[in-house]
Symmetry: C2
Subunit: 204 residues, 2 copies
DNA sequence: TGTACATCAGTGAACGCGCGTTCACTGATGTAC
DNA sequence: TGTACATCAGTGAACGCGCGTTCACTGATGTAC
């Protein structure tokens, strides 16, 4: 790991240390000094690469949004094979991301960081949101106009339920006693919701 | 406010100061010292009433759960006039609570506090959850067994969507640009979900 | 009603701690010739 | 290939700060007689 006076790739090493700390102790339990210590570097060295603690967290979140958007895009797959299947895959991708990248997820959604304070962060966050909204828009085309809710509302519903499932049932707290896995819970919830939209047959 | 050497009701005054601080700066931005300062008292005085910072937050959350459970119970109203109407009212009550008692809500759901570390807190939290689950169970009786999901799953779905709407669309961040109010969003989402359960007619 | 006294809520000084941030510096790296 | 030198990533000491928590204390309150 240590290879002399110069670290080599301190910037990214700090991001990864921050990630591990956030996943372990929550986004508020993370401190700049600890991240520096984790990569065997003086706290002052951090300032060669980041303007301060906030910018380091913002970079963690930014990288998270990049991965997130790519994952969603991959799951969506241009709406194939069907709009419905693509939409469901996108919902599953949300949960898979939260599961596989807890540090990123926490930095993005639980750190209290102001997305709009960092222009490039706001940009990539919007890009991620757009994937889901596009999937919802394509899906909504299968509905007759009278019963068609706005696509942005459908994507907001799915986003909200997914986020709620993560926060309440994938973290330890507080509804931890649920007999269902988060994945099953979300799958079933989205299924019922899509049936309510008239996109799935009335019974299983 | 200040009425001599003895405060009179310092314990509750501290709870309310904590509440205001949490609502203003988030549950992590709250410090014991600031709460003490807010009620014109030395930080050390806090220890006459609470074992420390954590216990103060736990008490805030506990009082929040008491109010929350009462609000849910009131909305449920024993399942009247119909199971469906009572269930929908309970969902609305969730959001109304988050809106009216932001400090309590944050202490309960965003402070990272371990509910199970405080027995009386765990008890009243369970009581609140039970209201929603009871409403869901009553609702599920209207469904034919083959298409009836477990009541605990239905209540988990509604809880998750409600919580997601609060976190994503009632806080400033990050989907703040939604053209819908949180209330409308949740109302519509629950409506679609209930239709999917077969509890509402196929179209509006 | 008046005095003596026990109770205990809040004081104020002190502590050790780790934080984020700054600064002048040093020494490894890599380029120019 | 070898030397001189500019660059700049990381050092280490220092700062001021506010935190949570402790302790011996003080003085207001309220009860017993």
């Amino acid at each position: 790991m240590k290879q002399g006076y110069h670290h080599g790739n301190l910037r990214q090493a700090l991001v990864e240390a921050a990630l591990a700390l956030i996943a372990e102790k929550g986004p508020q339990g993370f401190t700049l000094s600890e991240a520096a210590k984790a990569v065997d570097v003086t706290p002052a060295a951090v300032y060669r690469h980041f303007a301060g603690r906030d910018q380091l967290i913002a970079e963690v979140a930014r990288q998270g949004y990049v991965i997130f958007a790519a994952l969603m895009e991959f799951a969506y797959d241009g709406g194939k094979p069907t709009a419905l299947a693509a939409f469901e895959a996108t919902g599953r991708a949300y949960l898979a991301f939260a599961r596989k990248y807890p540090g990123h997820y926490m930095a993005m959604f639980e750190s209290g960081l102001n997305v709009n304070a960092w222009p490039d962060l706001a940009l990539v966050a919007q890009k991620a949101r757009d994937v889901l909204e596009r999937a919802a828009a394509q899906l909504a085309q299968n509905l007759d106009p009278p019963r068609r809710p706005p696509a942005s509302m459908v994507s907001a519903h799915i986003w909200a339920m997914s986020h709620g499932v993560v926060e309440l049932f994938m973290r330890g707290q507080p509804g931890a006693k649920s007999p269902f896995t988060p994945e099953d819970l979300l799958e079933a919830g989205i299924g019922i919701y899509l049936r309510g939209l008239g996109l799935l047959p009335p019974d299983r």
